[in-house]
Symmetry: C2
Subunit: 348 residues, 2 copies
């Protein structure tokens, strides 16, 4: 019998994190009698006078959300990071090390209406979101070395407010994921004088095994080393370091491809596909003037669902204590997403 990655267990290497994932395709057959989730398809009213993210509503902090008409950005009322505060003393014990953390947490509403999303907004409105993403990344990047823009979509992903919005946490330090990615991208560049993700893009374009959707400027692919069942990466076809480096053609093409990706996700299990998504680009702040040719700007989508709108992949026991494991191969997952329609199903 010869090795078939869609049938036989194996490990795959993640060159961005320098770690491995266990792929066990034969396990997809096992029955599931564990916890099921409520499928995410709840109807949200266009305006809810008790929702602090809606225009004109007074928030818990007493501040009033203005009657905004496009995107709206404000500082999180309960931030995990503050710009000022007393600094910890340097630690003299290597087992009890503390370091200073400075930062700011921004909330960005995508649109004044609560009942809209990438799948229903016009291209112009999506472009407004993308331009606001870029503007915020630029402003915050002047001060902070890492600007993490992310969106938690759906209650299953810890999102506590159904109004379409994302968050930006900017920090005075490189967070773990950024530090590790930076390190591995740099090692590859030193060896090949080529950005890793640019080489990866070219190979995926040739192999055509994990492509979900592409257009002139962008490729959406399930990484060869994906951990989450339907994890995707959004890669620019023309090499850029940061969101701020995108030109008008890239922004417009992104405004076209994102709603297709989200529609495919939603169509797969006929629900509002939950995920956390975000963007990674070259470090900013004091590193803005450094030469960082090893970086490629990219987007990451981490959705938890595995088999249906109600059965998710649990990253527990073995995954927490030993190593990530997946049942469905990335190639199979890509095929499933690829065959979905580009337009979202209609909710009754």
């Amino acid at each position: 019998m010869s090795f078939n990655p869609n049938e036989h267990q194996h490990l795959r290497y993640n060159p961005l994190k320098d770690d491995w994932i266990l792929v066990s395709p034969h396990r997809a057959l096992r029955p599931w009698s564990g916890q099921t989730e409520t499928p995410a398809i709840e109807k949200v009213p266009k305006f809810d006078p008790s929702n602090p993210l809606c225009p004109g509503v007074t928030r818990a902090s007493g501040k009033v959300t203005p009657k905004y008409e496009s995107t709206y950005v404000f500082e999180n009322d309960f931030p995990a990071l503050l710009e000022e505060g007393p600094e910890p003393e340097p630690s003299d014990d290597e087992l009890f090390q503390t370091k200073s953390a400075k930062g700011t947490c921004t909330v960005m509403c995508y649109h004044p209406h609560s009942d809209v999303y990438f799948t229903s907004l016009s291209k112009k409105e999506i472009l407004d979101i993308i331009n606001e993403w870029i503007k915020q990344t630029e402003i915050l990047g002047k001060k902070y070395v890492w600007v993490q823009l992310f969106e938690n979509r759906g209650q299953m992903m810890g999102c506590s407010n159904p109004h379409p919005h994302c968050q930006i946490w900017s920090t005075s330090f490189l967070p773990n994921e950024a530090r590790i990615t930076d390190l591995n991208l740099r090692k590859y560049y030193q060896k090949h004088q080529r950005p890793l993700l640019q080489d990866y893009l070219e190979k995926e374009l040739k192999k055509k095994e994990r492509i979900v959707v592409e257009n002139k400027e962008w490729l959406v692919v399930i990484p060869y080393w994906a951990v989450w069942p339907f994890e995707t990466m959004v890669l620019p076809k023309r090499q850029i370091l940061r969101f701020t480096d995108t030109d008008q053609a890239q922004r417009e093409a992104l405004a076209e491809i994102l709603p297709i990706l989200v529609s495919k996700y939603d169509n797969l299990f006929k629900c509002n596909f939950p995920y956390s998504m975000g963007w990674h680009g070259a470090p900013t702040g004091e590193k803005l003037n450094q030469c960082q040719p090893h970086w490629t700007f990219h987007g990451l989508y981490y959705p938890p669902l595995l088999r249906s709108a109600t059965v998710k992949k649990f990253m527990v026991g073995y995954e927490m204590l030993a190593q990530a494991q997946r049942d469905l191969t990335p190639e199979k997952a890509a095929a499933l997403l690829r065959e979905q329609q580009n337009v979202r199903f209609k909710t009754e």
Copy 2:
């Protein structure tokens, strides 16, 4: 204003993983209006003729679970790892690397009754579980380099069967967590000629700030660098490399301290506190004969709950894309657990 770790944001270093965690104690005040979980307190019958883990029941595979009277061990019918199978070809492309994975997945029932747990079993019955854990670790460790014993407790942690049981996944490779811990323990040992966790134990015993419970042989502590709100580590007071190195006194003392730890967990939010737990010890298999003085055997408990039996900590957006973040300090969490009774509350 001077720095107070219970009030002011900071980073803490995890010397086992060589990474950092963001601690934001001021954030604990924020209101929660997101997803809540069903509290885990469901009544399980002593025997369920449809539960494959109960004595005498026929499993989906057609095999019959025997009428066992103490612990019972069998091979998982839907294993993520098989002992045999075709091997992948060595990869010639560093961006598409595959490696062979061999292994075996074992299931271990703790007791013939479904309605018992560490909090209700006798010391003798708990000792039986511990001895079986050790026996399995020894048998599997002869063949495999890493034997990961773990338990997912509760539906919230992906456990699909309420019968008290754990799993053991043994592999021909060192999984990521094991490899990273091994590396960092080794580095520390090379520098200090002392096992890191032994030094850590001694310091925690003096500081007394993060102790949950201790007895003559074991210390349960919330690590200084804990990620999960009520994460704990179980450390032996006398240095040992592996579960198989424990002597009778250590086994008996473990049989006494584990039910106290679980009772404290259950008492905190008056529920069956969900968690994933497992044991880490020096690598085995072909490494059994190597000198590994940098290792200290230890247990790890990763519970997801944050504020109550229904509100968990979501490791999403920022955590997935950037870095783990916690609101409650480890010192505060340890104090909360420490003050709980050693005996579990009575379910009506």
